[in-house]
Each structure stands twice: as structure tokens, then as C-alpha cells.
Symmetry: C2
Subunit: 585 residues, 2 copies
């Protein structure tokens, strides 16, 4: 039998058939109905008002969920409702999936709020003597999933929990197929996750509410592995000298992150037992070092890694201080030197779904350059060194309060510090401005020579730049320039055909585009085409924390991307030597 | 394009189309082609000789596998072969799945030899600088499975293993989707598993070769938990008196099993590192106690258990002394008092696929009775107590050498002992014979009274039966009789309509059918319809170890079966009191 289904407020009318499930038809009509529990009648998020049409008797679960939401008796769960008549329904706003937005600066990208960690409040039936079903059956039947995984140790403990809270418990479910934990009573409103951008130099940790998708707090700290080497190469070689060193590096960064987590949770009055997942976006070396994975193969040609994609890890494999039943998701690496920070960044930039020719450049200690055209989706990596992050520079500093982040020259040199504090040093963007200015004013030659015989340019008080600093910057800029020029050449794309360049990384909006082009860091294109997307690694980690579909996207992205190896290319040496001069291109 | 495919020696000719995969067509022709690796071109088990037709260039993997098997160059892997011409092929015997047989006594049931643990010898490619793929990618691409799970700790260790054995390794794969371990060099010929029948009174451990399906050794021991109580009820109450007692019971049985495993492996020169799976079939209480699962809910009404089906456990959750990367599979319980011993037994008897009306009776400490008709598949359980196993009987003993297992009477009493040894006591089958004889000779009344005023019947030397022993047997026999009568009545089946009764349990062939009917243990039906299937719990465990399809069967069986509760039935008391007399029925 055919019926007519009218949907308000969207004002759509579609044909439906007898016994079809209302939720399916609403989705087919293009409405993003919230089916959090995969249409199992548990979450109560797909209630719709039956304005006209048959009102079947409420199921036991529906009664409880209706009462809980304070809805009138003409509401029904669309996932349990079988169509038996013409219908006119009204969908309340709460029953439509709300998007979360993952970037605070730059592009604001909506993502479907569907975290891997979901909570369900269950009112379990007590077993009876005529049918003494087991606790595992009880859970599985509630979720209508005969294959639902219930870990052994959880089963051991859950009998007590269920009995103590009189069969009313909250189940924490992972990826719709595994119960991670059983909490007493109703704890639906307490569901948090942590996104981490683990950089070689800095670590950023963000606390996120998985119910709303909102960021609760963000905190930044220096990567404590710095004491074992400022760049990944020196840390890898440290790890290789003694098996215990790998553990030291691991413990060091874990300790830092756990302290950051603890302080952030305390500050925001969030109990760590309500945090069930950590998502980490990090470059390949850093995620190997975080996990204590052997790094010796990263140290020698062909520079292969131990893993690219990892299955989500049980928390026991790692020492994060969240709920011990939790999970850790590591954003997949693309290749040895193209890590999860880049794959996450690409998710945040949504480059895979953007039409046109684009470059995505991450200006970190390791520079990664992605080229996306109609036919190609290819990535290369180039060792820029830590100069952009103010490391190995005499008066260099991270982009923290007091850092000279910007310089201008009109008759005299004007220096600007972060937070208008007293200058403490120069950070990457400041160095780029200064190089451009000194090139213009002739204090530095195109070959990078400081013309003054002191080989030192004073800036402010005791802060200066010397010849060694300029050389460090030449290597950093040259590495990026080589990568951009070679990837464009290899795939036959002139810079004029670029529709845009995304700039990721800590530089953010501080980077002066004109100056970057002047010293040859970026190719000369229309300035409007250069788009800063901020810390896309963190934004991507947050997207992966909040949205299962983002995880599916990243998997297909990693499979699709090709790697273009600079180091093994016969023209590499030639391009690199050319790139060491501060030329526009 | 259509072609013709002729298959020898089966002498079948079928139509095929261009580009179809040869392996698929051979299977469609009804030939049980061996596709161990799920047609991924790794195992080399589906070689066929191309007698007529196109011979495509050998793939790199094929060359290696051909050489390994010493086959000529006109053999091809059927799973890699795309049809491009008319074909005539010859299938060697080795390329057809060989059945394994799971029962040594009674019914011999063929099962497809497809263990959950599979081994593959891999010749991995070394990464190159132009494409420095990771180790995880390397494995996943070899298995053509992007989602293959590689545990974190294995990844950590496998780099060394792979390098040390020069990229030639053996992968141990579980359920086709998880790499459990990486072994150096080629260890394909060493692949073992262990099947365990864990009974309340006795434990039987069997070592099985997963390549051939053959049993290597079987060993039996008393359940060491006996010291904490001879039946499950007393052990459960012991476990409930102190949380540490549950651990004691667990440790006790683990220690016994591990000792049995060690002795058996040593005796047969099998290294425990080549054993990757243990399958346990046990009643619900025993598998809860083995796993250290709380048993308090089993002690009080409604007698519900913590679990019925468990996901396969990583070995770390349990302390079996096999390879530490291994798995433990627990045969699923059906209901609280109908355990994995019964579900395994039903797999071994193949009752689900047998047409007709059948009873399946397990005569253990706990008696389980399954009724299978066209419409019903229902199970009940009844507490028989340990008398059938010779426990709680003055001169009772297990069915071990020296046990009086059989008695006959012609003018005088003749007693038979196992192994013709000097009599040490009476076991269950002996007791049944003696009761029948003493009923006939009037030494015992139908109400179970010993007529002699000494209330003691001497048998042999110091061995005797007394009034208490007869009472114990009355309770045991009465429990089974009540179960059989009530289940037949509830589902409206007269005993005349039974096509057979399967008798499982330790009794084996020793049980005298006529005598069993005389005392009322079994209903009076044609004696030929009573079929002994021996230790079907162990046979089922072996089937589950050797055959993934058996695991799928057992899952659907457990879902399909209904539970018939005797204890809550209003007629239970009446039937039980009636059943306490030694009447035929």
C-alpha cells in the first residue's frame, strides 16, 4: 500500500509504503535526522510529532524516553515507527543533527557531530526464573546487537555496578560495537574527549564536550622531549643509542601531556573518568616516539616507518590519564615523513572535496607540501629544520608572549611583540619579516651574506641576528622552496594555475605574505589566494574526535594519496642549491 | 564471452564467462576447493593443472609457491586465474578440502578443516627510498586487507623479527582479520591447538594438529577444584563467602590444566609457542569459575549468569601456558544451567541438522536434556548430583582402572572392572547395573529400600552399597527422569514418536540400556534408538578448534534454542516425587 508523508517544517511531501520505517524515509527525504543509536530505539534522539496519521501504542522504551524529554504523547521515535497510514509529521529542531565547527580561526568547517564514544542510559529488565538470561544477553538484547563486544574485565565488574544502581545504568559504547564501560545511574551529560596536536616543538591539548561539539579549553606547552634533541632527527638518534632511551622519550612526552590534561580537567571541573577518548595528530616520528615504537628504520634509508594506520588502541597500551577503559586514536600517517598531523590537517581543510588546483603547506620543523589537482593528490616532505619555530636561532623563541612576531620598515625598523610585552626574542614570522626588510635595505645579500663586517644585526636591546641565524633560515626557506618548485614541476602545474595555497602550522595569521614571497618561501601568486588555516592538525584531531565520518574520510584519503619522494629525485640537489638564495619565484 | 570449463577428475563441464575467477567457478561446480587464505593468493592451496587453455605469465608469488610445492609450470593458483579461453583443468587431491573427523567413538562427523588460527609464509618486499612504505602497510598489502588488525605490541616487536629473518616470516592470523604473531622463517608445519572438556569432576585435554585435524594426544585428570566442593553448588557457595575464594578456584583449575598441557606438549615434543588457541567446553558454573567471573547470581534465584556468549579472549585475560599472543575461545552457554559443554555437544552430534524427533541427554553432575523436533529446539536442566560419577557413594569411584563398571546376574553376581584390575570401587554405570539386578532379585524395593536389615549389600571384598548410596542414586535417576517426562509432556511428544536418544557424557558405551530403562533412567523405547556419542563436549570443543564454520553454527544454535525451566513449572514437585521410585516408564 502506498501512502503520502508530509514533513514539516521542511515542507516536503514524499511517497512511502506500508511498513516502511519512518526514520529511513525522513533520511531519504534529505533531512539529517539524528539517529545517534543507529535506529535501535535507545537514544531517543529521533522523536517526531505525528500531527496526522496513526498513533501506535507507545513501546515501553518510548514511554520512558518521552517522559525524560517532557514530550507530549503524540510524539514517536521515528526509528521504531512503521508507516501504516498517510502521515503528516513535525520534526523538532532537536531531532536534526546539529553540526559542529572545527576551526576557530580561518575556515569554519561544519562536521556531523557523531563521536565514536556514545553514551546510552539503559533501564535494564531484571532476569526472571522462567527466563534467567545472563548479563551479557541483557546488554546485547538492549542494543539489539548479538555481536556487541563486551570486554572480559568489564563483564566481571558490571554485575556489581548493575545491581548497585538497580538496573539503571549508563553504557559507554565505542564505534557502535563495543561497550567500553558501564557507569552507575544517568551520566549522559558527562561525555568528554581530548584532541591533541603533538608537534616536535609544541604540544596543544584541547578538551571537547562530545555532546555539543564545543571546545571547553585549550592549553599549549613545549614538547618536553626538547631536552633530548630539538629536532626529530636528533631524538631518533638518541632513541637508537640505547633501548632505554626510547622509553625515556615516551615517558617524557606522556608526562607532559598528562600534566596538561590534569590541569585542564581540574580547572574545568571535569572528572577524568568521564573522558573516554584521546585523539592524537602528530608527525610520524612523534607518534612513533609517543607510542614507544622502534624508530631505527626512520633513521636510515629508505626511511620507512613501523606503521602508517593503527587500529584504535585500548588505553592500557598507553598511559594517558583518562578513564582506564578508554581508547586512543592516532591520526594515520600517510608516509614515513608525512604524518598524522598532515592527514588531520587535510581533514580540517577539506581539501579532498575542494575543486581546483591547491597547495597545502605545513610550515613546521618538517615541511610538508600537498598538491591537489583534478587528477593528482600527492604529498612530499622536506626537512626545514626548527628555524621557523625560533629554534637554533641565537635570539630565537617560540611564538609566545614577548616574541617579536612582526617587523616593518619605514625609515626606521619597527618591531612588534606578541601581547605587547617586552621583547624576549624573535619567532619565525618575525624572522621572515626581518629577512625581507634586510634584503630590501641591503643589509643582507641575496646569497644571505650579512654585509656588515660584525656579521651581526642588532634589533632591540640584547636581541640580534647573526650570520649563523641567516644561514639557518636559508636552509629552512630553501627546503620549502625546493619542495614547492619540484612538486609543481613534476606534475606539470604552473603557479599561475594555482587556485589557492593553504598555509597550516603555528604561523597562523602572523605570516606576512608579501615578505614570504620576497624571500622565496612562497611562490608569487595573487595574495588573496593564500589562506591561513591555523593549527589544522589540532582542528583535524578535533574533527576526528567528534565525527566518525571524518575517520572514514581520513582512511580513504590516506589510501588515495601518493607520495612524491624529493630525496631520491635526480634533480633534487640542483633545485636545493638554487633555492638557498633569497629569490622571488 | 562464454567459454567451457572441464574439470577433472570430477569430470564436470560448466559454462563460464570471460574474466571470471577460476576458483569461484570450481566452487560453484560443487567442488570443495581449498581456499584457506580466502582467495588472496597467499596460501598456495588451490593449485590446479591447466591441461588445456591459456597459461598466463606466473605472478611472482605463484613462482615461489610452485617451487615450494615442486609443481610443474602448467599449474596455476585458481584464485588468481582469470578465465580467458576454454579450459580443461585437473584438480590435484591436495587442492580439495580434506575433512577432519571429530569423534573417536560413536558417530564420526566430518567437519570442514578450517581453523581460526591460520599460518602464512610471507616473503616480504623490502621498502625502497622512492616508496618507503611502513611495516604495517607491508603486511596489509600482502594480505590485500586494509583493515587487517595488527596489535600494537606485535608491531613494536615485528620490525626486529622481520629484519632478523631477512623479510621471510610466518604470519599467524586469527579469523582472517588479525595478525596474532610474526614468527621467524617458515613454521607452517607447526600449528597446534588445544581442546578442553572442563567438567565439574574431570578435565580432559586434547592436543590437536591444526594442519591435519588429527588428535595428537588426550589426557584426563580430576578437577582440582574438588577440594573446595564436589559439586558446583558447594563451589559457588565457597566462592561467595570470600572474594579471594573465587581467585583460589580459578588458580586451582588453571594450574591443573597448565600442568596437563605442559606434560602433553613435552611428551609429544611440541613447543608451547606453536600453540595459539585453546577451546574450552564447560558447564556455565565451571566456565564462570575458570574465568574468575562472579558467580553469586548463579547461587540465588533467578539463577542468572554473567555471560552466555563471550567474544574470543586474548590470552592475557587468562593464564593458559601457550603462546602469549594466543586466544581462548569459550564454547557459548545456552542458559544459566545449560553450558558450553552442551552447546559443544550439540555441535558434535549435529542435532540441529538431523531430521526427526530426538532427545539429547547429558548424564553429568548436572543433567541436561535437549528436545529437538520439527518445530522445537528446547533444552532443560536438572540437578542430578555427582552420583553418576561415583561421588557421594560409599565405595564410589570415577570410571578409572579398577572401577566396577558392569555387573551381570545369572545365578550369581558377576562384576567387571575397567582394565580387568582388582576392584577399587563402583562407578556410575556399575551402580546402574547393580540397582537393576537388586530390583530384579528383590534385594531392593521399587521405593529404594534395602530389604536386608543390615541395610548394606556386600559386593567384593570391602566394597558394598548401602542405603544412603541407593538414596543418592534415586535422586540422580529421579532428576533425569523428571526432566525427560516433563519435556516430552510440555511439547506433546510421546516416547513412541522419538526417533532416537543421544547419550552424551562420560558413561560412553559402558551404560547398559536395558538396565537404564529398568530403573527408569531412560524411557522404554527400541534399544537400537539409543545412541552413545561419548564425550561430545570434548568432540565439540575439537570441532570448534578445527572449524570456523562450526563456530558460526554454534552461534546460530544458541540463538535458536529455547529454555524450558523445570524448577518454575507448577507440576515439577509432583513429577519429581513420582520419579523417585525405580519404575520403568
Amino acid at each position: 500500500m502506498n501512502y503520502r508523508l508530509k514533513i514539516l517544517p521542511q515542507n516536503k511531501t514524499i511517497k512511502v509504503r506500508e511498513d516502511e520505517i519512518l526514520a529511513d524515509k525522513i533520511q531519504e527525504a534529505g533531512i539529517n535526522l539524528s539517529v545517534y543509536c543507529n535506529k535501535r530505539g535507545i537514544c531517543g534522539k529521533c522523536f517526531v510529532k505525528i500531527a496526522e496519521g496513526k498513533l501506535p501504542t507507545l513501546e515501553e522504551r518510548e514511554i520512558f524516553l518521552l517522559e525524560n524529554k517532557g514530550l507530549s504523547k503524540d510524539y514517536r521515535l521515528a526509528c521504531l515507527y512503521r508507516i501504516k497510514s498517510n502521515l503528516s509529521i513535525e520534526i523538532p529542531e532537536e531531532s536534526v543533527i546539529q553540526d559542529a565547527f572545527i576551526l576557530k580561526t580561518g575556515i569554519k568547517l561544519p562536521i556531523a557531530l557523531e563521536p565514536s564514544i556514545k553514551k546510552y542510559y539503559l533501564q535494564l529488565k531484571k532476569p526472571e526464573i522462567s527466563d534467567p538470561y545472563s548479563l551479557s544477553e541483557l546488554f546485547r538484547s538492549y542494543f539489539q546487537d548479538k555481536n556487541l563486544v563486551i570486554p572480559f574485565n568489564l563483564l566481571k565488574e558490571s554485575l556489581n555496578i548493575v545491581e548497585q544502581s538497580k538496573f539503571n545504568v549508563t553504557a559507554v559504547v565505542y564505534n557502535d560495537d563495543e561497550i567500553l564501560n558501564i557507569e552507575q545511574k544517568n551520566t549522559l551529560d558527562k561525555n568528554f574527549g581530548i584532541a591533541i596536536d603533538l608537534g616536535t616543538t609544541t604540544v596543544v591539548v584541547e578538551l571537547v564536550d562530545l555532546n555539543s561539539g564545543e571546545s571547553i579549553d585549550i592549553t599549549t606547552a613545549a614538547n618536553s622531549q626538547m631536552e633530548y634533541g630539538s629536532d626529530v632527527i636528533s631524538r631518533i638518534s638518541y632513541a637508537c643509542t640505547n633501548p632505554k632511551n626510547l622509553d625515556k622519550l615516551k615517558e617524557s612526552i606522556l608526562e607532559t601531556i598528562n600534566l596538561m590534561i590534569k590541569q585542564m580537567l581540574d580547572k574545568n571541573n571535569v572528572n577524568s573518568s568521564y573522558v573516554y577518548e584521546v585523539v592524537v595528530a602528530a608527525n610520524t616520528s612523534m607518534n612513533h616516539l609517543l607510542l614507544g615504537m622502534p624508530v631505527k628504520s626512520l633513521a636510515v634509508a629508505p626511511f620507512s616507518s613501523v606503521f602508517t594506520c593503527l587500529s584504535p588502541l585500548p588505553l592500557a597500551d598507553l598511559g594517558f590519564k583518562i578513564n582506564s577503559c578508554g581508547k586512543v586514536y592516532i591520526a594515520p600517517n600517510i608516509k614515513s615523513f608525512v604524518g598524522g598531523d598532515i592527514s588531520a590537517g587535510l581533514i580540517a581543510s577539506d581539501l579532498a572535496n575542494t575543486k581546483g588546483n591547491y597547495l597545502f603547506i605545513d610550515l613546521g620543523t618538517n615541511g610538508e607540501i600537498v598538491l591537489k589537482t583534478k587528477d593528482e593528490f600527492v604529498v612530499t616532505s622536506t626537512a626545514a629544520g626548527p628555524a621557523f619555530e625560533g629554534m637554533n636561532i641565537s635570539c630565537g623563541t617560540l611564538a609566545s608572549p614577548g616574541a617579536i612576531y612582526k617587523a616593518e620598515y619605514e625609515n626606521r625598523l619597527a618591531l612588534f611583540t606578541i601581547g605587547h610585552k617586552r621583547a624576549t626574542g624573535v619567532c619565525g614570522t618575525g624572522l621572515i619579516d626581518l629577512l625581507a626588510i634586510f634584503l630590501d635595505t641591503g643589509k643582507i645579500s641575496e646569497k644571505g651574506k650579512i654585509n656588515d663586517k660584525t656579521k651581526k644585526i642588532p634589533l632591540n636591546g640584547s636581541i640580534y641576528i647573526n650570520q649563523k641565524d641567516v644561514r639557518e633560515m636559508q636552509l629552512a626557506v630553501g627546503a620549502i622552496k625546493t619542495g614547492i618548485r619540484m612538486i609543481l614541476k613534476e606534475f606539470h602545474l604552473s603557479k599561475e594555475k594555482l587556485d589557492g595555497i593553504y598555509i597550516a602550522g603555528a604561523f597562523g595569521n602572523y605570516l606576512n605574505i608579501k615578505n614570504s614571497m620576497k624571500i622565496g618561501l612562497l611562490p608569487q601568486i595573487d595574495e588573496d589566494k593564500v589562506i591561513f588555516i591555523g593549527n589544522s592538525s589540532l582542528a583535524g584531531a578535533k574533527a576526528l574526535l567528534l565525527s566518525k565520518p571524518a575517520r572514514e574520510k581520513i582512511d580513504s584519503l590516506v589510501r588515495r594519496m601518493r607520495y612524491f619522494s624529493l630525496a631520491s629525485h635526480p634533480l633534487f640537489q640542483k633545485y636545493f642549491i638554487e633555492a638557498l638564495e633569497f629569490h622571488m619565484y
